[in-house]
């Protein structure tokens, strides 16, 4: 057998990387399910089904081996990430539109895995957010706020597949409340609204901690490097510290609040780390992550949308090639480390 070197190969495969990402998302999913009910799981399962169908369709149209490419599990990752970002108990058609857009348009029209300039899950999310703002901001009241019960399996299925037959109790998210607040000191806001928990919003803080744990595990597994997520979290923390303002009514919120609100941890470890659409070098990823953190804060506090991970990531996807151009590492023998 004639083979060129190297003959040995490491243990990691692309499918393995994707599976690791799926596993790492479990703690966050568990926390979300606990606070927002089974709608979270129904979202994910339905999205995965749609994604596999769309992926198979696209592969068939593109005349690629379907089994081989389905096995890389990248469609499942896209679907899961999009489903996590959507409000639990979203109607089936909303998920279908979002996932189909992610897989067919944002991924396969650009050439499939590895060739998409924009994060497919975030493209799908933004399409839905702009087209269906009401559905996309209808977050259920989390468990532990007032005397609400989170939907069980049946209710969740009903919410998804027969959305007209059910009335869900939704509530503004903590980020929403903070953006709308212009009269109360943060301390009073905390006391007067039931959505706030120990550090941030009830439920949200634990979901964020869950995604943080999963992210740390991925770091430990060396699935990605620390550069982009750490840079993003650092710049977001820095910005919120600068504009915290001691908790006045014009405050942007405390650094801890920003760390554990909305999609911060989910974005930092599951979206910003998407290697395909991020900057390539480690230096580049520092810049890329930091700018995303900055944009998230700007949009959250002064923008029109309560959360901003998707917009920030997409904007920086645009900038990634530009960042790459200026952050090429110093090659050996080109004056890198001189004795």
């Amino acid at each position: 057998m004639r083979v060129t070197s190297p003959h040995a190969h490491g243990p990691l495969s692309t499918a393995e990387v994707m599976r690791a990402v799926l596993i790492a998302s479990l703690p966050g999913i568990v926390a979300l399910t606990h606070f927002f009910g089974f709608g979270v799981l129904v979202n994910i399962l339905w999205a995965c089904l749609v994604a596999l169908g769309c992926e198979a369709l696209a592969l068939a149209l593109r005349k690629r081996p379907i089994g081989f490419y389905l096995n890389d599990a990248s469609a499942l990752v896209t679907a899961t990430l999009l489903a996590i970002a959507m409000p639990p108990g979203s109607p089936w058609w909303l998920i279908l539109v979002g996932v189909a857009f992610s897989i067919l348009i944002a991924k396969h029209l650009y050439g499939g895995l590895g060739y998409n300039p924009f994060n497919p899950a975030m493209v799908g999310y933004v399409v839905l957010l702009i087209s269906f703002p009401v559905e996309m901001t209808a977050w259920l009241t989390p468990a532990g706020v007032e005397a609400t019960n989170t939907p069980g399996i049946l209710a969740a299925l009903q919410a998804c597949f027969a959305p007209d037959t059910i009335d869900a109790i939704t509530m503004a998210t903590p980020l929403d409340l903070l953006r709308q607040n212009n009269s109360l000191l943060l301390e009073d806001l905390w006391l007067q609204t039931p959505q706030y928990g120990r550090w941030a919003g009830i439920g949200w803080e634990w979901a964020n901690i869950g995604f943080l744990i999963g992210g740390l595990w991925l770091l430990y597994r060396r699935i990605f490097t620390w550069h982009a997520p750490v840079a993003m979290l650092t710049s977001l923390a820095l910005m919120s510290a600068i504009f915290f303002d001691g908790g006045s009514s014009a405050s942007g919120g405390s650094p801890l609040f920003h760390m554990l609100s909305g999609g911060t941890m989910f974005g930092a470890f599951f979206i910003v780390t998407d290697p395909v659409t991020s900057a390539v070098s480690n230096h580049g990823r520092l810049v890329y992550g930091a700018l995303i953190g900055l944009l998230i804060f700007l949009i959250r506090v002064w923008g029109n949308y309560p959360d901003a991970v998707a917009f920030s990531v997409l904007l920086m996807n645009f900038a990634a090639p530009f960042i790459d151009y200026y952050t090429q590492p110093k090659t050996y023998g080109h004056g890198g480390s001189e004795g």
Binding site: V3, P329, E338
Partner: protein, 614 residues
């Protein structure tokens, strides 16, 4: 402990070194036939100095160095030269190469050797000449002629650091390890000769910490010398020359430069040992240690093998099971290449023969899409961006490949090893390097052509300008003359052109008058006859030029025959018409003259035809 530096990237593949370290070095013995490729290294191939049928002794030179970057080849045992021809050699191309083939006589009889007791008495050129004549080329990777490496005078000045490479970072290979365990004294001895030659301020022998026995042996052997044994962490590819230099000195060899540019020279421990034996015993390089390993072998081990031995000779002694082996690799699993013919000879860079089973080194999995995960960039010891290089290689973007420093890639294989999508990255880079070099050549060629074209254009323009200027000058001169003539009041000369036309018209009219005055005859007018003759001659010349001598002779013969026939008809006509005697006589004498000419032409043609047939 001496401070050591780290280099960017690197990987930790499974070492698999223990398999071949159960037994000490075994002598492989003398095969029936040995093959010596004339080119075993970078540089010019050696020139054979033996003939087929010649008896040679062990250690006798059979091919001499040809050029500066070239090393001679020696017979590794006594016997008879049976062929000097192309044979299969171990080369990534899989192509045959010129070789000298020796049939051993089994006596293993040495040529007379002259060792040197005290090398301190030799001057440097003499020592370098010994190393050169001993045929010593690097035993590590590229096999660069050692004497050239040592003889280079760096512009930077003095060599500060002599680095001896005992790293052996490739998985599976233990040839250097076992050599250091068993022959540390000779390695240190060779290092001391190198110290004498190079006069460095420090001498560092770098060795990875996964070889404790070898470290102990070296430390014992280096006692009382100023050779410093530096133990470095195990990481692939710390044995790469540039990586080892960075580990030991913290300095990077400039891109495209030599270690000598930063005051370092680096040689492999095997090379040091070969130098020791060449100087103190006068032995040329005719054997080496080769690790024979892999799961397709019953007894993986290290052999001391005569250079030129067929690979099969070693494989058989290690219990090779051909049916279990999927490929034969010369070198390690990271940088070695597949050998298509196990009769190919062992050469001075054959540090390992690896015969893995399918489960041991499975065939590469199908390539998936690059997700730009960046694991390759983290593993790259040259701090390249392999994922970007891959992108540009696929798109054949040569300029970007060069901007992203494709040519600083050392092809260590770390990127391919970690790639989760199993992309054969190194393969892409090798191909791209060749393509970029070809593109550079093409560019140089087209540049050259463009310059020539531009120069020609310029010349033509210059010439036409000069012509134009001359014409202008002439015209002005003529106008000037005309003005002067007009000023002189000479009316007739006032317009020279009109005057010339008038003159020509007058002449023509006179000629016409003369022609019409002549009585009409059957013969062509003499003036026209002359013109006709000239035209004929020109036509004949035109057809003659470009003809072969044979064709010319044939044409000549044909002409002569025509003339003869003409003359004969004229004679007959004249005789029939009862013409004047003088005419008949003249025609007859012309015929007499023509006949020998014809005979001569016939002879000439015949001889030419003979020549042609011969």
């Amino acid at each position: 402990m001496r401070k050591v530096w780290d280099f960017h990237g690197g990987i930790h593949p499974a070492e698999n070194k223990y398999q071949s370290l159960h037994t000490p070095i075994r002598q492989a013995g003398i095969p029936a036939q040995l093959t010596y490729p004339l080119s075993q290294h970078i540089g010019a191939p050696a020139k054979p100095i033996v003939e087929v049928g010649q008896q040679v002794l062990k250690g006798e030179m059979i091919a001499r160095a040809d050029g500066f970057v070239s090393v001679p080849v020696h017979a590794s045992t006594s016997g008879t030269i049976v062929a000097i021809e192309e044979r299969m050699v171990a080369h990534p191309s899989g192509l045959p190469a010129p070789c000298i083939v020796l049939e051993s006589d089994g006596r293993d009889q040495w040529v007379e050797l002259r060792g040197i007791d005290d090398y301190h008495q030799l001057d440097k050129p003499a020592l370098l000449e010994i190393i050169r004549q001993a045929g010593i080329a690097g035993m590590g990777g590229a096999g660069f002629p050692a004497a050239v490496k040592l003889g280079v005078n760096p512009q930077a000045g003095k060599i500060e650091t002599l680095v001896i490479n005992g790293t052996e970072c490739e998985p599976y290979i233990t040839a250097d390890d076992i050599l250091m365990r068993e022959r540390a004294d000779e390695i240190i001895g060779g290092t001391r000769i190198l110290q004498h030659l190079v006069e460095p301020t420090e001498t560092l022998l770098g060795i990875e910490d996964n070889k404790p026995e070898a470290i102990a042996a070296l430390l014992a052997a280096a006692q009382g010398t100023d050779v410093e044994i530096v133990v470095i962490p195990t990481k692939y590819p710390s044995g790469g020359e540039r990586q080892l230099i960075e580990i030991l000195s913290g300095k990077q060899v400039p891109s495209g430069g030599l270690p000598a540019n930063i005051g370092v020279v680096c040689l492999n421990i095997g090379t040091a040992l070969a130098i020791y034996r060449a100087v103190t015993h006068g032995e040329p390089l005719i054997s080496r240690i080769t690790t024979v390993t892999g799961e397709a072998l019953e007894q993986p081990q290290n052999f001391e093998v005569l250079l030129g031995s067929p690979m099969r000779f070693l494989l058989d002694q290690a219990g090779f099971q051909a049916e279990r082996s999927t490929r034969l690799v010369m070198g390690g699993p990271m940088m070695g290449f597949t050998v298509m013919d196990d009769e190919a000879p062992i050469v001075n860079t054959t540090n390992c023969l690896l015969a893995p089973t399918e489960t041991e080194l499975p065939p590469p999995s199908p390539t998936q899409a690059c997700i730009r995960c960046g694991l390759c960039a983290d593993a790259c010891p040259a701090s390249l961006l392999p994922q970007q290089l891959y992108w540009f290689a696929v798109g054949k973007e040569y300029e970007k490949l060069e901007n992203h420093k494709l040519f600083d890639c050392i092809e260590c294989g770390a990127c391919s090893f970690v790639c989760p999508s199993s992309i054969p990255l190194v393969q892409y880079y090798r191909a791209s390097k060749a393509e970029v070099l070809q593109a550079r050549k093409d560019l140089a060629k087209s540049d050259h052509a463009r310059l020539r074209y531009e120069a020609r254009d310029e010349r033509l323009e210059r010439e036409s300008l000069e012509k134009e200027a001359k014409r202008k000058a002439r015209k002005e001169a003529a106008e000037e003359r005309a003005r002067q003539a007009a000023a002189a009041g000479n009316e007739a000369e006032a317009d020279p052109i009109q005057a010339a036309i008038d003159r020509a018209r007058a002449k023509k009219a006179a000629a016409q008058q003369a022609a019409s005055d002549q009585p009409p005859t059957g013969e062509t007018p003499p003036a026209d006859a002359a013109q006709l003759a000239i035209a004929k001659a020109m036509a004949a010349r035109a057809t003659n030029s470009g003809q072969s001598p044979l064709e010319k002779a044939e044409a000549k013969l044909k002409r002569l025959r025509e003339r003869l026939a003409n003359s004969e008809t004229k004679l007959q006509q004249s005789q029939a018409a009862d013409a004047d005697d003088t005419i008949i006589n003249a025609l007859q004498s012309a015929l007499e003259k023509l006949r020998p000419k014809l005979a001569e032409a016939e002879r000439e043609l015949a001889s030419l035809q003979e020549q042609n047939e011969a």
